[in-house]
């Protein structure tokens, strides 16, 4: 591998650089001519959207940090100062705050896409697992970010969540003291959360890079869940998918802008506009909406340690999903029973979210417990059994020839199919 790269670029400057560091060749290979299945639907936009969202968060976050004061005495006022006095500070802050919600919306849809089309199955297990790592990092980052404005929900959310670690036997209390930097959530806690909140997005960026590398080794899955067989099945990434992702990006930005400009506090909680007060506990402590399903799972278990284990288990279980789902068929398109049960699973997750937002009393406790049980049942019982019991529909021969194999197989007349390749 040692030696200069033989660059094919004509421009002498680009050629000079590319010969010594073949970045241009790499970009062309991975994002220019990269062979991509031709049958993506708009669900395949969400990976690119998540990438855009990450960049928006980092850029707005850097500018917010220039004006933020990470101290219990100054944090709340400095956030208000950003909104009132910093030029377009309100825009920075509302983009960043709603950007967190948009990030989770995008990533949850991205994950649903993976579940629906079996994108976690061989050979993409590691790609999926790296994705779960990104999800965990995102959750930690979002949680610490929510603490920074130092409102009532910031303070009490931080107290509740950090206290979870005290459930760990023997070392739990020491871990909590370490997290706090003292004996309660206080100034040292805020300082370290700010430091880590600034660090984590760059860790996420690194893991996202691994996610993309792994994706470009296996290639993308597609709505049919069958591997591309020939160049007839694929299109170069550019311009076909750069333009299709751009369409998705425009729609995504419209949803984002509608929140930022017309309902910036809609997804937030009113209590966080009251400065943190350790002496007054809010009537109901609730996390941000994207954590509510996990919060419901936590509260569904009567024991503290049990609840913590179940809550982390609900995400940890995603790591082994590629081995829990025993069906050889990827796409739910050809798995009629799985498809129905996946919709049930989505409804269960949304119900968990609703239950997580309600006070834990009466019927909501029961609903929370039933849905928690079903959540784990789906992964631990339904998926392993269904793979064995379900009879999948016949798979198409190839992406370009989506005729079902047993009936009327054979290649189509070649002319029409060959045409897109001329563009390369």
């Amino acid at each position: 591998m040692v030696g200069l790269h033989k660059s094919e670029f004509k421009n002498p400057v680009i050629n000079w650089v590319d010969t010594r560091l073949p970045l241009f060749t790499m970009m062309t290979k991975e994002y220019g001519v990269f062979p991509t299945p031709k049958n993506f639907n708009y669900f395949w936009n969400f990976g690119a959207l998540a990438m855009i969202n990450l960049m928006i968060m980092i850029v707005t976050g850097i500018f917010l940090a220039m004006n933020y004061n990470a101290s219990t005495a100054g944090a709340f006022d400095s956030v208000e100062r950003i909104v009132r006095d910093v030029n377009y500070g309100w825009l920075l802050r509302y983009v960043h705050a709603n950007g967190a919600s948009m990030f989770f919306i995008v990533v949850y849809i991205h994950m649903f896409r993976g579940l629906y089309y079996g994108s976690y199955k061989k050979p993409r297990e590691l790609l999926w697992m790296i994705g779960v790592v990104i999800l965990l990092l995102m959750m930690a980052t979002a949680f610490m970010g929510y603490v920074l404005p130092w409102g009532q929900m910031s303070y009490w959310g931080a107290t509740v969540i950090t206290n979870l670690f005290s459930a760990i036997p023997v070392v739990g209390d020491y871990i909590v003291t370490l997290l706090w930097g003292g004996f309660s959530v206080d100034n040292p806690t805020l300082n370290r959360f700010f430091s880590l909140h600034y660090l984590m997005p760059f860790v996420i960026t690194g893991v996202v890079f691994l996610h993309v590398v792994a994706l470009h080794i296996t290639g993308s899955n597609n709505p049919l869940g069958i591997e591309p067989k020939s160049s007839q099945d694929t299109l170069p990434f550019h311009p076909y998918y750069t333009i299709k992702d751009s369409v998705g990006m425009c729609v995504y930005l419209m949803v984002f802008a509608a929140l930022v400009f017309f309902a910036p506090d809609y997804l937030g909680h009113a209590d966080n506009y009251t400065p943190a007060n350790p002496l007054v506990t809010p009537a109901h402590i609730v996390p941000e909406w994207y954590f509510l399903p996990f919060y419901a799972i936590l509260r569904s278990v009567p024991s503290k340690l049990g609840g913590v284990i179940m809550m982390f288990g609900s995400i940890a279980i995603l790591f082994v999903l590629p081995w829990l789902d025993t069906s050889p068929v990827r796409s739910a398109k050809f798995r009629p029973i799985y498809r129905q049960l996946l919709y049930v699973f989505v409804v269960v997750c949304i119900t968990l979210g609703v239950a997580g937002g309600k006070p834990p009393e009466g019927i909501w406790v029961v609903i929370g417990r039933v849905c928690t049980a079903y959540y784990f049942l789906h992964f631990l019982v339904i998926l392993p059994l269904l793979g064995k019991l379900e009879k999948p529909l016949p798979l198409p021969e190839s992406i370009a020839n989506p005729v079902l194999t047993p009936i009327g197989g054979g290649p189509l007349p070649g002319g029409a199919m060959a045409k897109p390749m001329e563009k390369m």
């Binding site: 076909y240 751009s246 930022v260 997804l267 009113a270 897109p420």
Partner: protein, 256 residues
């Protein structure tokens, strides 16, 4: 098939956003009657006459007990007061400073000063208010579920306690306040404030005006935000159409 996918996408997105609206139900125990506010909706702006009357209510009533420390006197320009008026209003307060001789003294307030708080600190406020702390009003509208509807309902929600309800010492009955007991005595009443523009100062009018003023103080950027938002949405709508047309063009030779 593709229609199905879009429906599903929409449902998921709707559900995801809908969750946010589920949470706020928590704290509101009383139905808050919805009022029509001038600042609602994507094109809403502040009714400046109402906000100016609301400032009078703030000045003559609220500011005796409540601080509004995030706001500046210069913010009053946003409700239509002139520079001269703002200077005169700011000059009515004395701001502590250090004199040329190095000794503590006071100077006249300036438009760039924060609104002066009625008490030097929380303890002083509690001592003067029988132990209760009047909350800061800078973002009060945003700090309560229901926002302006809540503030309006609270200000107009006072009455004699119903028979059998035992009130704490110095507490007042209010149907909107959580627990129905509030330390603040009914601050507004018919004729409580003298309006200079001929508007009749009824309880409802005063409550509506001061709520509009507080909404402005909590969101001084709102009019600029919505104006920019409308332009951004129009631009994005056009960009979406163009991008989609280009996409159709590029994909026109791909057969599915």
């Amino acid at each position: 098939m593709s229609l199905n996918r879009f429906t599903l996408f929409g449902t998921l997105l709707g559900a995801a956003i809908g969750l946010g609206s589920v949470t706020p139900v928590l704290a509101a125990e009383v139905e808050l009657p919805h009022q029509n506010w001038s600042f609602e909706g994507p094109f809403g702006t502040y009714d400046k006459a109402s906000a100016q009357r609301g400032f009078l209510v703030y000045q003559q009533v609220c500011s005796n007990c409540h601080s509004m420390k995030q706001a500046y006197y210069r913010n009053l320009a946003g409700i239509g007061l002139s520079d001269e008026q703002i200077k005169a209003i700011a000059a009515q307060v004395d701001v502590p400073t250090i004199g040329d001789d190095g000794q503590p003294t006071t100077r006249k307030g300036l438009p760039s000063d924060h609104f002066k708080a009625p008490y030097p600190n929380e303890k002083a406020a509690r001592a003067a208010q029988g132990g209760a702390l009047p909350p800061d009003q800078s973002v009060l509208i945003k700090a309560r579920e229901g926002g302006p509807d809540y503030i309006y309902a609270l200000l107009t929600g006072y009455s004699e306690p119903p028979a059998g309800v035992k009130m704490g010492e110095g507490m007042n009955y209010n149907k909107v306040m959580a627990g129905n007991q509030i330390a603040m005595a009914a601050p507004l009443s018919d004729g409580r404030v003298e309006y200079t523009d001929g508007t009749k100062p009824t309880l409802e009018q005063e409550a509506r005006d001061v709520t509009t003023f507080l909404a402005y103080i909590a969101n001084p950027e709102m009019e600029q935000r919505k104006r920019l938002g409308v332009r951004v949405m129009l631009f994005l709508a056009a960009l979406t159409c163009v991008t989609y047309a280009v996409k159709r063009q590029i994909w026109s030779d791909v057969h599915h």
